[in-house]
Every structure is written in C-alpha cells, then in structure tokens.
Assembly symmetry: C3
Homo-oligomer: 347 residues x 3
Amino acid sequence: MTRLCRTFQTAPAGVAKDNTAKYLESAFNATGFQVPDWLVPDIEDGTAPSMKETALENTVELSAEYGPEFAGEIWPRVQWAFDDESLREAGTHEIETLVREAGDHIDGVVVPKVGRLDDVERAASAVANAEANSGYDAGSIGLSVIVETAQAKSDLREIASFGTDSRLTGLVFGPVDYTAELGAREIAGERPSWPGMVEDLSNEASANDLVSIGGPFDRLFHTRAGVTVYNADGYADQVEREARVGFDGSWSLHPKQTEQANRIHMPDRETISRAVRSIEDFSAAKAAGSGAVTIDGQMIDEATLKNYANTVDTVVSIHKASEQQTSNAYDDDLLERALSTDTDTRT
Amino acid sequence: MTRLCRTFQTAPAGVAKDNTAKYLESAFNATGFQVPDWLVPDIEDGTAPSMKETALENTVELSAEYGPEFAGEIWPRVQWAFDDESLREAGTHEIETLVREAGDHIDGVVVPKVGRLDDVERAASAVANAEANSGYDAGSIGLSVIVETAQAKSDLREIASFGTDSRLTGLVFGPVDYTAELGAREIAGERPSWPGMVEDLSNEASANDLVSIGGPFDRLFHTRAGVTVYNADGYADQVEREARVGFDGSWSLHPKQTEQANRIHMPDRETISRAVRSIEDFSAAKAAGSGAVTIDGQMIDEATLKNYANTVDTVVSIHKASEQQTSNAYDDDLLERALSTDTDTRT
Amino acid sequence: MTRLCRTFQTAPAGVAKDNTAKYLESAFNATGFQVPDWLVPDIEDGTAPSMKETALENTVELSAEYGPEFAGEIWPRVQWAFDDESLREAGTHEIETLVREAGDHIDGVVVPKVGRLDDVERAASAVANAEANSGYDAGSIGLSVIVETAQAKSDLREIASFGTDSRLTGLVFGPVDYTAELGAREIAGERPSWPGMVEDLSNEASANDLVSIGGPFDRLFHTRAGVTVYNADGYADQVEREARVGFDGSWSLHPKQTEQANRIHMPDRETISRAVRSIEDFSAAKAAGSGAVTIDGQMIDEATLKNYANTVDTVVSIHKASEQQTSNAYDDDLLERALSTDTDTRT
C-alpha cells in the first residue's frame, strides 16, 4: 500500500486580490470530502510573475498557521524547468526558503517540468542541500515531480527506478504542458488523452512504490443556453479513467473537484461489500480444498482475491486518515466487517 | 513463423473431488477444436494449498499416460513469486520433480509472477539445474513466463531480449494479478484493458521470436432473468482484440473457450480466400512491372503482401498440427490452393 | 519548432507505362494545397523489381529538372532491410548514386525496414560515405527512417536519441509492414491502430527534435452500390488522430491525400483565432497580477498558453513556406494578427 493521495489540489498561493492568500486560505479551511489528501500551494504556473514572492511568503505563513491542524499533507509547487537555468535558480531559492521557514510543516516539494534523469537528480540535490542547510535529517523532506516533458517520459523508467531508494515520493502527470511539448492539440473537439503515458506512469510508480497522480482537468465549467454550471461529468469521467488504471489520486483545481476525486478514489458501498463477501466465500472454499470458485459467473482464484484485498486495504487506509469520511460513506456494519477482514492473501 | 500456440488452456491439476484429476483428465481427452495447442496443468493459483502435492503427482502421472498421444504441447504451471522465497523454493521443487518424473512428456514449464530480469534468469537456472540433474540435454525443457507484475513490465524489453538466446519460449500476460499489482480496478462497470502492455508484449515477443499469449477471461458465464449461459461474446471479443495486435494465442479456462480461441486464431474462409487471391493477383502485376496495384479500392504493395503471406503460413502451420481442423474449416479446393501458394514475398 | 513536414508524399519513381516517371512528374507539378512539404520518389516497395534502375534514373533526372523550383523538400526512398544483406547493398548503391548525381537537389534519403540501433547507424554510415565520396560537407544530406519492425520499435528510444546529434531528421511510422512483422491482422473488419507505437514515436521525436510522420492509408477508394469514390473520411480521420498526438505530418499516397493532410496539419480559422485571442487576454491578465484566468469555462495558465503559442508558430512557419496557402486559408486581418503575436510565453 503506497501512501494516501486521492487528491492533489493546487491553489494559487498569491493572487492580485485584497487577500492575496484567498484561495490558499480557503483550501486550508476546507471540510468533509473537500479536504484534499495533498494540498499544493502553487508558486509556479498558477501565480503571476509579479506575485511570486508574495506567493512564497503566503505559503510559509499559512503552512505554519494551518499546518499543525490540517488533515492532509502539504506539498508546495515551486518553479523549475529542465531547460531554463533562471527558473531552476528561482526554484532552488524557493526550496531553500520553504525548508528553512516551513520545514516542520511541509511534507515535501513538487518540482515541475523535469527533464531526463539527471535533471530529477538535480532537483533531488536542491532538496538535499536545503535540508542540510536548515539542519533537517536527510530524507525528511519529500520530492514529487511532474512528468510533462518528452524527456521525462523518455526516461520515466530510470526516473522511477531512482525513486526506489530516494526521497522521490510521487509521479504526477502534467498533460497540458505535455501536449504543448509534443506539438499535440485538440482537433475535431477531441484532445489527446495519452493512454500510453498514463499506463506507463502507473506501472513505473507501482514497480518502485511511488504515488501516481493524474493531471489537471481545466474545463471547470460549461455553459448551455446561457446557464453556466460546474462540469461534474467531465471531471468524474477523467478521474474514473485514472482510478481504473491504478492511479492513486487525481489533480484538483477546485473544492468540488476535490470532493469528487476523494469519493471516486474511495470504493463505493457496493464495491467494498462485494470485496468483503468474496474474500469470505473464497477463504471458505480454499479451506475445503478448492483453488478456484465461481461466484456470480466469475471465476475467482488467488489473483482475483488480491484485487478484493486492495479494495479493503484502501478503505482501512482512508479510515485511518478520516473516520468522518468512512462513517459518512458506509453504514456501521459494513465498515466494521471491512475493518476486520484479513487481507493477507497468502494465508 | 513462431511455434503454434493458439490456445493456452489451464486446468487445475488437483481438486477436492473423488477424482482429484477430473479437470486435467478431461482436458487431455478433448477432441476436435477443443484440443488446446498448449495444455497447462495448473499447480499454482487454480489449486488450493492443501492440494499442491496431489496436483504435482497428477501432472506427472497424466502427462506420462496421455502425453504420448496428446496432439498439443504440455506446459505445467508451477508456483513462484519474485518477492516470496518460500514460493520460489516450492516452484524449484516442482520443476525438479516434473523434469525428473515427466521430462520426456512435458515441453516446458510456466513460471508465474516473475519480477525483473534477474528473477527470470533465476527461473531459467532452476530449469537448467533440473535438466542437468536428470540428465537431459541443455535447452530441452522450455520456459514460459507470465508477465503480471509491474517489475516484469518495466523490464519487459530486457526479459524478451534474454529470450532470444535462451530456453525462454513464451510471454504470457496475466491481467488479473497485474491489475491488483497496480492498484487498478473495475470502475463504473469497466475494467482496465491494458492496451499498452498488450502492444508492448506483442512487439517484444516478435522482436525476439517468442510466442505471445493473452490473459484469462474470468467472466465465464452470465445470467439474464434467471438463465445462466456461457459468455461466448465476452470471450470472443477479448480473443479478437488479442489476435488483432498479433498475439499468437489466448488463455483458456474452459473447453468452450479453447474452441473459440482455436477458431479465432485461425483465418476464416473469407480471409484465407482473399489472401490467396491477392497474392496471385499481385504476383502477376509485379511480373508485368507494377510495384503496387489497387484491388477493391485498397492499394497493395510488398508490405501488404507480407500480411497475406502470414495468413497463408498460419493455415499451413495449423494444417501440419491438425488436418482434422483445417479440413473441417475449409473446403478442399481452397485448402489446396492455400497449401500450394508461394509465400516467399521476396521473389 | 521542428521543420515543416505536414505531408510526406511517396510517388513510385518507375512504372511500366509509356512515361515511366508519370506519377513522379505529376507530383513535382502539383499546385496549391496539393504540393507536399516532402516529396518522396519511391524506389522501394512502390516500384517493381524490374523497374528499380529506371526508378533510380528517373529520381536523379527529375530532381535535377524540377528540384530548383519545387517548393517542398525532396527525400527519395531507397531499398533496405535490417535482415537482408542484398537489399542493404542495393540501398547503399542507390544512396551513392543519388548523392553523386543529385546531391544538390535532394534534402536526404528515406531508409525503410531498419532494425535495432546498430542498423540505423549502418544506414547513417552509408549516407556519410556517399557524402564523403561525392565531396559534400558532412551532414549535408539528411536521413529519415521508417519505423516498421519490432526491433526498431524495441530500440526506438535509442534510435531517436542517436538522432539528437546526427543527420537523423525524421521518424516515419510504417504500419503495414509493422502489422505483418507482429503477425497482427485485420479482424472483424477492424485493423490494429497501434496507439502505443504512435504515442511513443511522437514522444521520442519531440524529445530529440526530430520530425514525426504517420503511416500510409491504403484504402484510397470505396465503392457503394456500384459507385467508387475517393475515401475522404477514412483518410481525414487517420490524419486527425495523428495530428492530435503531435505528429508533424502524415503520409500521402495521392494528391487528394496531400491536400487533406496539408490542411489538417494547418490550424483552421477558428483555432488560430481562438489562440490569438487567448494569448492577448492572458497577457493582459498576467500583467494585472493573475496567474490563471477562466475563459469560456476553461482555466488558462502558462501551460495552456504554450499550446496556443504552438498554434501561432505553426501558422508562421507555413506562411514562410507558402504565402499562397495561408492567404487562401485565412482572411487578411486574422493572418496579420497571428503574424504579429508574441509567442514567447516566458515573458
């Protein structure tokens, strides 16, 4: 079981409003299913050039103020680009500042636009230096990278493998930059969905115990005959595709997206109920000498069982993070059965 | 042309019934299109823990009894897991026993849940040791592996390349374990279909002259308004997808699946007829100085021709294995024309 | 921005007709949107064995005659196969002849059926030798390869990476040979579309500044109730899929295909208009301190902007190559706005 990250919510950390931390503050104050598992104060693309310093200060201040009580993890996104030295210098400064001023409150930093393996190693060194300079234990500050350049995709296997024994924690897909990088584009109303990238990223994350996270969905609203509504279907469809191939979580740009992604990456009532029942039935059959049984037309063996075990383990893991969410989603009997199910499929 | 394996049928080798070899015996006694090209006595996931020794004994005994007359190949599946030493020890014991007691009858062993390249090499060594210990020539016992872990997918190119000069014979996809490994899942009624894995596996098998085989389809039956029927469409759809991307064969869990996969991986009447006609027409055009001709709106050149040559070669190869199947599927004229077609596209 | 290659039109260079250069001559004389960005005189699969020498002579003569005035680039396709020494010798002879006799007029050569990296290096050496033997500067004659074997796909990352510092210019997908190589096939009326190959090829080309080009579409015509028509929809659908994932261009077998591909790989009026407007709006918002704005329900930030910048850059690049095409496609106001848009997204 990798660590919990159903939602990776970015919030611009400095905006040109009376309260420059408006969106970040709002994210820290979210409740219920709108609390992201990872909150990402965004100092990079979501923040205008003139607001970068303000964004950095807001991130430091609010992480200190809200961090101790905040239920999720805190992962600021800094500036970086494998092919732009000035952005890497800006990012290195931001990493130094964040670790020095808010190292007790943040779980790690998110570095965008990394290139080949050597660039990811460079980003890891920047974090290592910041840690050492501020007196933190080696490895105490995590690193997640956004895979959104052709070079990073080309080196994905090496980057992920580097992650096995390093501070690298998560691989996040960045489809908008990636689409621009490849000269790809929306055509005839349809965008590229990068199924190969998504499948490879899920595989390499799993092969190296990293968290895998989907990319942002920017069509937040749609308008029909003059009325504008939140695009609930568009986002849910994307999150479902991501959950289906084994992404641990999805990117959110809005509290409503966070709510949807938290729920989709959490087994629904019917799914957990079926998993618990199938584990119970199969265990009984196995004890009686059967290696495979057919339940509701489906042949179930040890391999099938592992999938059901995953479902139960996910519920246990969410329950540890937020009893409020599990008790809201499941009735007491079902939750108790799930929590007491033995998911060690090797016994 | 790689060796014939349209069907890879697993049968649990030890079950808690009066006749513990019931399913295995039934598979050895299949006739017509229900004879699998490869029969896989399953000592692994299809057999309960308490029946493992019985399964091993049944495999040895029935391979000796039915092997000499059986039309297909015999490839027992043993226990193994890259991350579990006790399973690897059990598998090594099973390989030793199978080679020692039934080495004259089996074509190779199937090793599941392999990890990275070094684990595949470890499995190959286990077979090599068993061979040497029982006095068989080096390389006489084959090895096929099931690709069903994130690590094996990550190393697929290296594993397949190792196969070029080794006993490695087949790459088999194991989607159920793989889905669990990646934390993927059925969602909104749809399962991940892993098109990237399937495409890569087909490519790497072809690049190294290995056999490529699809994964099991476990929704054997479906029920509508109280009546349960064999799920013929569901399985055929999967086998068609596999044949389309160049898999040599498909996994079967049931004699009816074997019949369907044997037929789908065999060109139908119209396909072979069109291939023979196109080769004849194109050869005539080429002799008259044309490099490309248009037949029925399609432009045909040397590249197109290779595809038609593949179709004819497949029929020839099936004919050598089972004249009963080819004479059942095609009328005499067509079969004779196919068998006498020159498929050397370089002349 | 990689170099312009919306269309890669092959024309058989020697046919058994009174005018053996009929199709090649016709391609050199195309006008308007039927002028291919790259014209590929085909000495390989489109030319019959008995016409190879004629095809080579026609290519030399017509390149000299039409080359100086021809608007596109000239890239003859020679014979080659990684697994056939006699074809490699024939190809080496053709490369020598083309460089010696027409080196001033051709931009490079297209080498098909390459295998692993060492075979691509062998092809590059053949071009280097021809260059040296005829006194051309090193690197003046380009090389593009057709990716159509399982080995080339397996080594795609290494081949593309070799391209970064070499004469390698383009990666072209060859689906018909590739389908035969993998033993894949049309089944139930549907062909394999190789989405994984296409996605990887687009990525590796972008990671190494190479041109990426799609494969031929051979269903040129279709017949309905006795009437045969050009298959405009079938081809356009394929080109749209290729443009969507970032291919720079598509393969054409016919002047009508060239016209369609030239238009599809060129932003349409609405697309360029939206790009220009969004860049203007976002620049204003950024100056006012916003890192992201919502336009028509879509959240736009720096990453989105790069996609709009690509659109504008493509129009500028086509305008430089053919003002006739841009003035035909856009009205003057829009074209002028596009040409004067600042696409440096870092400012």
